[in-house]
């Protein structure tokens, strides 16, 4: 087991280094000269240009710049924006908004997705099942940004139940964006839960549990559901990694000052250091979530043994 853990950790580090390198290379392919952007309309003074290039190490070869970036990354230093702001501090200001948004999305997935799937599986081929499956298909096929516009119009503008955009409304501000961000995966979780539970309910040990006289609730909650939820937990773990970077559009529709918005702004302004920093955090969360899921899987399903 410890050998398995060690090799998975090593793989995760390799993926992290590889992904940040690819990000570094493609980000530096972005057009625009930061020196000229700072100088404005006039041609930059050669001495000024020289100083800026030296300060941000723009005159060094790409690999050397990447090495410098990695060295900073291990120390928690993500460099400075071209206007002199510390990128790590900027991310620190914004990560709270992104984390709350992701937490709301995840809560919708767990509460609505899992309970919808369970309801659907227990009332298989009944009216509730049909309802859940139709809603699930709608959730998978209607694009989430359209859901966002409709919710803003109906819940926000027409009935005034929830804030339309921004974070001034406190936790309530995250309800609509969280639902929108999680809607696709909520539908997927419901489908996954239903499929797994339907299969597990047919297993011999479930029939055995019923045969020895356990109540229906106990059979479902203790014997069937526990085993059915392993793939769901796996999916949700991977989802945590995807939620941060998936929020770019949701954050811009609902005007939430999170990391997704920072990334969109950085692309627009050609702020390379910010872009690399923000996406590195996305990738870091993604890789760590993947690693945790893999390790968790071995704990949750004792049939899986790793040499």
């Amino acid at each position: 087991m410890s050998r398995y853990i060690a090799s998975r950790v090593l793989q995760a580090v390799l993926v992290l280094v590889g992904a940040t390198f690819v990000i570094f290379v493609i980000t530096f392919a972005l057009p625009g000269d930061p020196v000229q952007a700072l100088a404005g309309e006039r041609a930059a003074d050669p001495a000024f240009a020289e100083a800026i290039r030296a300060r941000y190490h723009l005159d060094e070869p790409l690999v050397q710049q990447y090495g410098r970036f990695l060295f900073g990354l291990v120390q928690g230093d993500l460099g400075q924006t071209y206007s002199g702001q510390d990128v790590a501090a900027l991310i620190g200001q914004r990560i709270g908004v992104s984390a709350q948004l992701a937490a709301f999305a995840l809560a919708f997935q767990i509460v609505i997705g899992v309970s919808g799937g369970v309801l659907s599986a227990l009332r298989r081929n009944g009216a509730a099942d049909a309802g859940v499956r139709i809603l699930t298909l709608a959730g998978l096929s209607v694009p989430f940004f359209v859901t966002a516009f409709v919710l803003q119009l109906v819940l926000g503008v027409k009935f005034g139940l929830l804030p339309v955009a921004g974070v001034e409304g406190g936790p309530l501000s995250y309800v609509m964006p969280g639902f929108v961000l999680g809607s696709l995966s909520t539908a997927y979780v419901a489908r996954l839960t239903r499929g797994q539970l339907v299969e597990t309910l047919r297993a011999d040990y479930v029939r055995m549990a019923t045969a020895k006289g356990l109540t229906r609730v106990r059979v479902v909650a203790h014997h069937a559901l526990r085993n059915s939820l392993i793939p769901v937990v796996t999916f949700l773990g991977l989802e945590v990694g995807a939620l941060l970077s998936g929020a770019v559009i949701t954050e811009s529709i609902f005007n939430l000052p999170g990391m997704g918005q920072a990334m969109a702004r950085a692309v627009y302004l050609g702020e390379r250091t910010t872009l690399v920093g923000v996406v590195t955090v996305f990738v870091l969360v993604y890789v760590v979530a993947n690693l945790v899921v893999d390790l968790l899987y071995a704990v949750l399903d004792p049939r899986i043994r790793y040499a």
Partner: protein, 303 residues
């Protein structure tokens, strides 16, 4: 007279083998044709493909003939979905949008299916160091967010023409790792089956075992993911076009229509909902198709 005795035996065995080979995909087709959902999705897709090929047949008006005086007019008066900001018929424009949206979905699905299929099959079949290298590359690309790669690529190359080729490349770069992952695990599972071992035991070469035994038997999960992905990539196209970095006018696509209409959705929601309806129905059709294909290929999970 041994020949006289064995000859009919050989012939008989061959017929059984032939019949079985036809039998697998035949059975898949029989299960497929018995499913009502298959016909629902097939009809929807035939209509959508028809719109993509000959839009003039379905559209009541010319999508480029617009009346600014009628800007954002509601439904009615021959415009089933109203008019957009430029006064164009939303329904007709949505019909004409099918070509770009479907075309990109199909192109990206084919590219990612081919690339992901080859990488995944190689990683799963050869295992060892080949698998280690290919799997790490797959994971690296999986970790990079869609919008980063897409926005950089499209900022670099998107200014030329309608940007269709760049959109296809950007979505393919993002989409292939998922196909590779699924193909890899399907191949790894098939590889361990007894009949592959048996083929190796009678001296079958690795290449032959791969092409004749492993690949045909791992095709199911690949086919399902490629089918379902058609809908996913159509949605992705709409996402990047909605952000204004995807397809550009004069090309009409659903995402681009939503992009144009989103700023004024509080005044007129129909220009957003019109293309969204076309988009949702198409994605739904591909999801249903993926579902029935999956159930037909693997009847064990059929409930």
């Amino acid at each position: 007279m041994p020949e006289l005795v064995t000859a009919p035996e050989v012939v008989k065995q061959q017929t059984i083998a032939e019949g079985k080979r036809r039998g697998h995909w035949g059975a898949v087709w029989r299960r497929l044709s018995r499913s009502p959902l298959f016909y629902v999705s097939a009809v929807l897709l035939v209509v959508m493909v028809g719109m993509a090929l000959v839009p003039a047949l379905f559209a009541p008006a010319d999508p480029h003939e617009c009346d600014l005086g009628d800007t954002l007019a509601g439904a009615g008066g021959g415009q089933w979905l109203g008019r957009d900001l430029q006064g164009c018929d939303v329904f007709s424009r949505s019909v004409y949008g099918a070509r770009a949206s479907l075309g990109i979905g199909i192109a990206v699905s084919l590219v990612t299916g081919a690339l992901g299929g080859v990488v995944g099959a190689a990683a799963g079949y050869f295992g060892g160091p080949v698998d280690a290298v290919l799997s790490r590359i797959t994971e690296i690309f999986l970790a990079i967010p869609l919008l980063l790669g897409a926005s950089v690529l499209l900022t670099l190359f998107g200014s030329k023409g309608s940007g269709a080729l760049t959109v296809i490349v950007a979505l393919s770069v993002h989409g292939w790792p998922q196909v590779a992952r699924i193909t890899r695990s399907a191949v790894m599972e098939t590889k361990q089956q007894d009949y592959v071992l048996a083929a190796a035991a009678i001296g079958c070469s690795r290449v032959r075992a791969l092409t004749r035994h492993v690949v045909p038997n791992s095709l199911g999960p690949w086919l399902v993911v490629v089918t379902t992905n058609l809908g996913v990539f159509i949605t992705y196209e709409s996402i990047i076009s909605m952000l204004g970095i995807g397809l550009r006018p004069p090309t009409i696509s659903w995402g681009q229509m939503i992009h144009d209409a989103q700023a004024r959705f509080l005044e007129a929601i129909l220009p957003v909902l019109g293309p969204a309806l076309f988009l949702s129905v198409t994605v739904l059709a591909f999801i249903l198709l993926g579902d029935v294909v999956r159930d037909a290929i693997d009847p064990r999970i059929h409930s």
